[in-house]
């Protein structure tokens, strides 16, 4: 079972991102589970979201997991040590930051020795979508690193999932996803 | 709208609220309810809040209703009728009406407990949502079903079992809540006050007919003199109601579209309130020397309110 944990602030779209990823993977015939953990806090409070992806039905409904991937879509949360909780040696971190990997590791010492990738999902979403909603660019970055499914297939699915939105929003998201796919390092 | 012309004609209406109910002898509820349900030729669905009317008109295995009737609880007559009205709309839209040839109208009855107090939230909600129904408050100024406790409709000075007169108390201390105006403030298309009896029967029947035929939430606050708890002889019910009007203790008026107020009956000579109070045991203690000031206070409040109503009517705003 593939396990992915998102760290975000409420309002940044981690829940939507996690559900979109689940939707994409379900279309390939996988079983999925996407959920989030939050309290009564409002927009801006830290929260986490989760994806589980497997070839057989997912029965475990507990919130606890040992993630294969940790996706941090808020730049300030990168500095919170909780993001490494319950991770394995080979857990892959994809984080949002305007800094390069070396500068980041100098400050975020808890990420030293981890498999780390960086993408500025905030900047990308601001420039391409017009708002700091870094969830879709993170999906682009995740697709690049994980190579879970062919990127073209991913784009077809995500376009369909976004189809309820106005064309302008869809186009912006697709551009953001493609840019993040290219820019993640 | 049913045309209410004279009593000889109105009395040809087949009764839809039957006798054999267990209300007290001389209870005004029976009079008011009969007039309201007889004031339309449309079919009716009725909900009733817990209270005297509810317990007395549907004691298993008997019902006093020749129309569809529902009781759920004390505080939800308005919510219940709003559900029934919504179902009527839904089934009409879906072409599944049970009697497509008939208009169905919706009426809710509640006492002042079920209306002023515990049921006020659901009444306010149903009114705000704009359901097409008439809500009639049978206002007997206390929780008479449970033996005469105070409500927010109990007038100043009245003795009730929870605002008793006593060595150091003159009875109820708080002013009666002005629910009719509160309902008007919801922006209801039609709100009115009414009393039972022979003198104002047409006022009540016409108001009921008007309210039922008006589309949207309408409200009638009907004073319902309670022979048992107000403590007067059963045969005096209509006289007490008439005195409430003639003293202006309970003025008759209507308000259209939430603001346009019309006084529907103006006493030729306003009678002093003692006449009204003196006929009821619940106010007997006010006639003791030490409580006389309470009567004066009540008179002052009546005068001020009557003045307010007249000014507001004149202003026509």
């Amino acid at each position: 079972m593939l396990q992915i944990r998102w760290h975000s602030r409420a309002g940044q779209g981690a829940v939507t991102g996690a559900k979109a990823l689940a939707d994409v993977m379900a279309r390939t015939g996988k079983y999925v589970q996407a959920y989030s953990v939050y309290g009564a806090e409002k927009r801006g409070a830290p929260m986490s979201a989760y994806d589980k992806i497997d070839d057989k039905p997912i029965l475990d409904h507990s919130k606890w997991m040992t993630p294969d991937y940790v996706l941090v879509i808020d730049p300030s949360l990168v500095f919170q040590e909780e993001i490494v909780d319950n991770t394995k040696d080979d857990t892959i971190f994809i984080v949002t930051s305007h800094m390069n990997k070396d500068d980041l590791l100098n400050i975020a010492k808890h990420l030293q020795g981890k498999k780390l990738y960086v993408v500025d999902a905030i900047k990308i979403s601001q420039e391409e979508i017009g708002r700091a909603i870094p969830n879709t660019p993170m999906l682009g970055a995740f697709m690049k690193i994980s190579q879970l499914i062919p990127f073209e297939d991913f784009l077809v699915s995500i376009k369909d999932i976004l189809s309820k939105f106005p064309q302008k929003i869809i186009d912006g998201n697709i551009r953001a996803i493609k840019r993040a796919y290219e820019e993640v390092k | 709208m049913k045309k209410i012309t004279n009593l000889k004609e109105f009395a040809c209406t087949p009764d839809r609220f039957q006798g054999g109910h267990r209300l007290c002898p001389g209870c005004a509820h029976g009079m008011i309810v009969r007039e309201v349900v007889n004031a339309t030729d449309d079919d009716l669905v009725i909900s009733t809040a817990t209270g005297c009317l509810e317990v007395c008109s549907a004691i298993y295995p008997y019902t006093s209703w020749d129309v569809s009737w529902l009781h759920i609880g004390f505080e939800n007559a308005a919510a219940g009728i709003s559900g029934a009205e919504a179902m009527y709309k839904a089934l009409s839209r879906k072409n599944r009406s049970y009697n497509p040839d008939k208009n169905v109208k919706f009426v809710a009855f509640g006492g002042d407990g079920g209306t002023y107090d515990i049921g006020f939230q659901s009444l306010s909600g149903a009114t705000e949502r704009g359901h097409d129904f008439l809500y009639v408050c049978l206002d007997n100024e206390g929780y008479m079903n449970t033996g005469g406790q105070r409500s927010s409709s109990t007038p100043v000075g009245a003795h009730t079992t929870t605002s008793p007169r006593g060595r150091v108390s003159y009875g109820e201390k708080n002013r009666k809540k002005d629910l009719t105006m509160i309902m008007a403030a919801h922006g209801c298309p039609y709100v009115a006050t009414a009393v039972p009896g022979t003198k104002h029967w047409k006022d009540l029947a016409t108001k009921a007919a008007k309210a039922i035929s008006t589309v949207g939430p309408t409200f009638i606050n009907a004073l319902s003199p309670c022979t048992t708890e107000w403590k007067f002889k059963p045969e005096d019910t209509t006289e007490i109601a008439d005195l409430a009007v003639e003293t202006c203790m309970f003025p008759l008026y209507e308000i259209e579209d939430g603001h346009k107020l019309t006084i529907t009956y103006r006493p030729k000579q306003k009678i002093p309130v003692e006449e009204y109070l003196g006929r009821q045991g619940r106010f007997a203690h006010l006639f003791k020397p030490e409580n006389k000031w309470v009567i004066e206070e009540i008179q002052k409040q009546i005068d001020e309110y009557w003045e307010y109503l007249q000014r507001r009517e004149e202003a026509g705003v």
Binding site: - | L23, E35, P234
Partner: protein, 135 residues
């Protein structure tokens, strides 16, 4: 208690939800046994109103103010062919003897008066006051 013996049933024979139909034959408006029209509250009375048709002017005040729907009305046509109600009697099954009808009766000599419950109506009519009686 309040239920006549012949209406007492067992749990397996009662109407689901205690729902009561008003009519046994809705089309012909035949009231069901569950309709309180078929219940008697006569024993609540101490005194009963007696109706004197000869004095009645059909103002229908008694009809409109009766809390118990007791007044039996016949629909007749007036001289101008308009329908109007004629009071023809009192349903003593439904009357609780509150006396409101007597109170509101406006005829100079009342056409409704209270008499002891045990008195025969014929006898009551014989005892009816006349113009000559002092009030």
């Amino acid at each position: 208690m309040a239920t006549p013996k012949d209406m007492m049933t067992t749990w397996d024979k009662i109407q689901p939800g205690a729902v009561l139909p008003s009519f046994e034959d809705p089309e012909h408006k035949v009231r069901s046994k569950f309709n309180s029209f078929n219940y008697k509250v006569a024993d609540w009375r101490v005194e009963k109103p007696v109706f004197n048709r000869d004095l009645c002017i059909d103002c229908d005040f008694c009809w409109v103010s009766c809390p118990d729907s007791c007044f039996i009305v016949e629909e007749v046509e007036n001289k101008r062919g308009k329908k109007q109600a004629k009071i023809v009697g009192i349903n003593y099954n439904l009357c609780k003897g509150c006396g409101v009808c007597v109170d509101v009766c406006p005829t100079p000599i009342k056409s409704l008066l209270m008499f002891p419950e045990f008195m025969d109506n014929e006898e009551a009519l014989k005892q009816w006051p006349t113009k000559d009686d002092k009030k």
